[in-house]
């Protein structure tokens, strides 16, 4: 029996080879060299501009000349607690909470069906059906809702045909959620946000549900639990990390958005719009920076809590 032999080319000689040897022997040097370009970009350019901008929140603005006073002060940060500004924060957090709850409510059945009942083919179809809207154009999606919600638009027409025109009117007459038409109400704004971020909720919830061990459900059933009880005491608690993971997206994306409220919604400002007007027409960069800190802080708190629930494993 003869051994198979390979004709291997001679190893290369020269500078490249020597460089290669150095890099192979010193893997830490290799890691470092690989990291330098992306770190220069993100660490220096991006993080640098971020710190310079956010750092200006400790400056204030001269009320008469409109120029930035470069002396450290807490005055600008304290301005956030003035009732008008505080309302903006509360309003935005309220909208984000409503959007998150609605997303969870609509996402759960989709994720549950895909994770527990769908065969491989249906599951792939579900996945694509969720990914397509996720990746399609943000503005196109907002535009779709502008069409639907307009006073003369499709939702109003269908409501009339189905005899629900009165119900829609009654809803729009309600104090907080209503307005002259759906396209200038909180209802319209929350619906649009829910539509935009729904896929971000479906995917982690489905991932969490798929990890629920089937034998746990069988065991609960064998021990006499009704399907409803199994759902409440076994499936739902195990799916919660997925819901929290999805909420990280829906909540933070709503907190920072200023385009949807500009196109669909009331004239009352939300956080993103406040930052936008402050840095633009008002030219008050320090207060804009202070406002920008709010969503970052809210999300930091949210993430700390989320980490405890194990949401990061569901991402």
């Amino acid at each position: 029996m003869s051994l198979a032999t390979f004709e291997l080319p001679e190893p290369r000689e020269g500078a490249l080879r020597r460089l290669s040897d150095v890099l192979t022997r010193h893997t830490r040097l290799l890691t470092l060299l690989l990291l330098v370009p992306p770190l220069l970009w993100l660490g220096l350019v991006y993080l640098g501009s971020l710190f310079v901008f956010l750092g200006q929140s400790i400056f204030s603005i001269d009320e008469f000349s409109g120029t930035i006073v470069r002396e450290p002060t807490t005055a600008t940060l304290l301005e956030l607690f003035r009732p008008a500004n505080y309302d903006i924060v509360l309003r935005t957090v309220g909208i984000a909470t409503a959007v998150t709850l609605l997303c969870a409510l609509i996402a759960f059945p989709i994720a549950y069906y895909a994770a527990r009942y769908a065969g491989p083919k249906v599951k792939a179809a579900f996945y694509l059906a969720v990914m397509m809207p996720l990746w399609s154009s943000y503005l196109v999606k907002v535009y779709g809702w502008k069409l639907l919600l307009a006073k003369e638009g499709a939702i109003g027409w269908f409501a009339d045909r189905l005899g629900l025109g009165g119900a829609l009117e009654a809803w729009l007459d309600l104090p907080l959620v209503g307005g002259p038409s759906l396209s200038v109400s909180y209802t319209g704004m929350v619906l649009t946000f829910t539509y935009l971020w729904l896929p971000f909720m479906i995917l982690p919830v489905q991932a969490a549900l798929e990890r629920v061990p089937p034998h746990l459900i069988e065991a609960a059933g064998d021990l006499g639990a009704s399907p409803g009880l199994v759902f409440r005491t076994v499936i739902l608690p195990l799916a919660m990390p997925g819901v929290v993971a999805g909420a990280i997206f829906t909540f933070s994306l709503t907190l920072g958005d200023y385009i949807v409220p500009q196109i669909i919604g009331t004239s009352a400002l939300v956080l993103g719009q406040a930052v936008y007007t402050l840095q633009g027409t008002a030219g008050n960069i320090p207060l804009a920076a202070a406002f920008s800190l709010v969503p970052i802080l809210v999300m930091a708190v949210f993430l700390t809590v989320a980490k405890r629930t194990g949401a990061f494993d569901a991402l």
Binding site: L34, L42, P109, V142, Y195, P295
Partner: protein
């Protein structure tokens, strides 16, 4: 497997319908004869808006700029994202966690914060707005998409393949070109296409880094705030859906087939 309760089926299908019906309405309104409102049902149907779009130079200039920006941002993201993935896929070192957090930060923070921060930095360094400033903003958040795809694939790539290549006499560069690159190729392609779609669609950061230039999303935003010929916006929206649909579908199939990477079972 037991069958799903009817109520669950209805809720799941209803949810999926909720995700897709608004896009169908955009298609419907491409053909309406009404250009001043969103009246439903459309009073009449016409194909003339496709012709109008074809002749509008401002739209095609915006499309051109968007394509150019997306292409450049994707190239930068591919290079930097792959480097980052190569460094972080297997290495364990002090500061690894903060570094990987840094790569995710641009999509984790609200776009408006990134946008204003970059605008301020450009202003301070007296850099005038140009294609370059838009590309810089986009590449910042496109890196993470490439990074995520590449790092997932690199972790599945068996280290013994690399060792075998080196044992057989290949140096690090040959190993990268002949062993690593073919194995992560489809992941990079998928990441690149997602980055392209993300950049092509970006509006928030662009608002702050574009100056007077108009990318396609900026053009659309101005039409949404001050509508002129409404069906024209619909035709453009449908074109955008088509342009982003194909790369995303392709990216999906590329990453799925990539499950069978050599040595991934180990």
């Amino acid at each position: 497997m037991t069958r799903a309760p009817l109520s669950l089926k209805i809720a799941a299908l209803g949810g999926l319908a909720f995700l897709h019906v608004p896009l169908l309405f955009i298609l419907l309104y491409c053909f309406t004869t009404e250009e001043k409102s969103y009246a439903f049902p459309p009073p009449g149907f016409t194909l003339k808006w496709f012709g109008v779009v074809w002749e509008r130079a401002d739209i095609w200039a915006a499309v051109g700029l968007s394509l150019k920006v997306a292409a450049l941002a994707t190239v930068i993201a591919l290079v930097l994202g792959t480097l980052a993935a190569g460094a972080l896929a297997r290495a364990r070192f002090f500061g690894r966690e903060p570094v990987s957090l840094l790569f995710v930060l641009p999509i984790a923070l609200p776009g408006i914060v990134t946008g204003i921060a970059l605008r301020q930095a450009f202003g301070m360094m007296e850099i005038p707005f140009s294609v370059f400033t838009i590309v810089l903003g986009h590449a910042t958040f496109c890196i993470v998409v490439v990074y995520n795809n590449a790092v997932a694939r690199l972790r599945r790539l068996s280290p013994s393949l690399i060792e075998a290549s080196m044992d057989l006499g290949a140096d690090a560069f040959q190993t990268f070109r002949l062993v690593v690159l073919p194995n992560i190729g489809t992941a990079l392609l998928a990441g690149g296409m997602l980055a392209f779609a993300l950049s092509f669609d970006e509006v928030i950061v662009t608002t702050f880094t574009a100056g007077q230039q108009s990318t396609l999303p900026i053009w659309m935003l101005s039409e949404l705030i001050r509508p002129r010929q409404r069906p024209v916006t619909n035709v453009v929206a449908v074109l955008v859906i088509l342009v982003t649909f194909l790369p995303i579908l392709a990216a999906y199939y590329l990453t799925r087939e990539g499950e069978a990477v050599a040595g991934s079972g180990k």
